[in-house]
Structures are given as structure tokens and as C-alpha cells.
Symmetry: C2
Subunit: 187 residues, 2 copies
Amino acid sequence: METTQEKTLNGVPTDRLVETMQAIRKQPEIAKFKFRAKNRWDDGARNVATVGAFHGALEEHPREEPFEYVLDEHPVLLGGDTGGNPVEYLLTALSGCLTTSLVYHAAARGIEVTGVESSYEGDIDLHGFLGMDESVRPGYQEIRVTMKVEADVSEEIKDELVQAAKDHSPVYDVVSNGTRVEVVRAR
Amino acid sequence: METTQEKTLNGVPTDRLVETMQAIRKQPEIAKFKFRAKNRWDDGARNVATVGAFHGALEEHPREEPFEYVLDEHPVLLGGDTGGNPVEYLLTALSGCLTTSLVYHAAARGIEVTGVESSYEGDIDLHGFLGMDESVRPGYQEIRVTMKVEADVSEEIKDELVQAAKDHSPVYDVVSNGTRVEVVRAR
């Protein structure tokens, strides 16, 4: 366990994690967050997303410099390959969320983790995207994930950590179960 | 309509799009793609995803330099804010996919688009992630999207373009409907 200014485990400030949960118990509204992104089409397959302010813990959180993400397609999919493509960003999101969920839940349980590595592969059949076969979905038909956890605990506890990541990861939940997406065209 | 070396519309090489569809009709296996990502935990909420080779059109497509994406959490969520968080990357993925789907389908229909801008907002209640209330899902409860399309066509055609994006976007499909995610722990 690292000890700096604050008590941390796995780089997670565990004191503040406990304080956050106590604050939420007193005032459940603290737990309500709104995350946001904007996107501007550039040309062809290339577009740029920006991630700036979000809302949470009862206030707005601006960011001085929004994060900027370039999305494109590989030439085989008729783009310029200046950035990952949208379905690769989806795997990126899933990877970050399972990892963070595992690390945070290990910290909450007092388990020191020394490494987490994971790999992701998903199958897409372009018949769906191209509208060539209505029986083929446009999205991933399946996503396979392999997670490697380094920690000085039993195999059983490592399995529990992976299970905790699956049970609590927001992106895993959305990708596994879907969610309501409302699309409106601005006039 | 732009005319360079190849015929393009909206920056999409429409001749090659038609050729791709003809090739898929002859040999459906060409349409099968496998996209991938890897992730390595750094510390606390910070981890780094890399996106490199993928499989499609019957062959592997290596990338000399993989794309690297830093994921982190804002201090209010106990991280260092060195990158967007996983649920912000999910919105990024969705934004890129709806945009590209709209632009490609417009190109396939011969419609010139001069601008696409969109914004995304999703609601998360931390009770789910923190395991404080089993009735609250960890993921987005709803995602709201606003798309603005600039094109010299009727409002009705613009609505059709947005609908085509929804109908064919791989990320919209996964986020709306979910997909099977298999997680295995490497031993």
C-alpha cells in the first residue's frame, strides 16, 4: 500500500472513496452524473469528437482544454486511417471501464493489484452496415475479452475481481445490455 | 461533387464503395471483420488502450504505429483527468459512428452533405458503479443525441439520412441493443 498525502491503494484514494460513498448515502443526488461529447464531421470517414464539461456531484465540471479524439477509417474501409475507427473506440471504452472497475473494486476490498492487462476482439459483418442483408446486424456480433490480473491473492479472488468488474462497469453494462438512445435532428 | 483521381462524394470514394459491395456479393466472406484493442493499467483510474492490427477483407491489416488512447477519471471521480473517462469514450465512439454512417449512406444515395455536427449526453447514477443499490444499473440510463445536418435537400431527406445512420451504425446498434460479451481471465 502506497502512503502519500492521502491513503491510497492501487493508486485509488481509498479514504476519499469511502467519504464519497458516505456523502452519497446522506445525499443521493450527489451520485447523478451527466457525461457529454460533441462531434464535428471533417471529411469522408474522418470526424473529431471533443469531450469537455460534465455534470456530477451537484455541479458542472468544466475542463479548460477539452480532450479531442480523431475518428477515421482504414483505407480498406475507404478512409485515411488518421485515427481509430468508431468500433475500435468502443473496444477502447470497454477496456478502460473493465480495468478501472476492477482496480477500484479491488481497492475498496483492500486488495493490492500490481498489474492488469486485457485484450479485446469483436466480430462485425459489413453486410449490416452496408444494408446488404437485413438479417445481419450492423454492430458487433460478439466481443471476446481476456483479462490478466496480477495480484498476490488466490485464483478464486482474482476471479471475483473480474466478476466485480463485469458487475459494476458502466460500459460493460451498456455494451452487454444496451440502453435507450434518443436521436433528435436539430432543425 | 468532388472529382479528384477517383470519384468521391462527401470525401467518400463512391466508385470504391460500389466495387466493395460488388466484391462482397461475389464473395460474402470479404465482409467479415475482426476489430481489436489492448489495454494496460497504469495506476489508479489511468490506463492506456492501444488499437493496432485488425482483420478484414480476408486478410490481416497491421498498423505500423498503433493508436494509443489514455483513459482516466476526473478528480471528482478520484482520478488525474489525463484523458477522457471510459463512458466519455463510449459517447465518442457513438458520435463517430453515427456521423460516418450518415455521411457514407448519403454518399451512396448521391446526396452531398456539407456539414454534420452532433452532441451527446448520457445519465449515470453512481449507485450502480459503487454497488450501493442493486436496482440501479451501472451504465447509462439514457443517452440523448442531437444531430445537425447541412445539405441542400428537404427536411424530409435530412430526416431520412439521420434514420439511415441509426439503422446502419454499428456502435448505435450495440449501444441500443447490446451484444454478447465473453470475458475470460487469463491464468
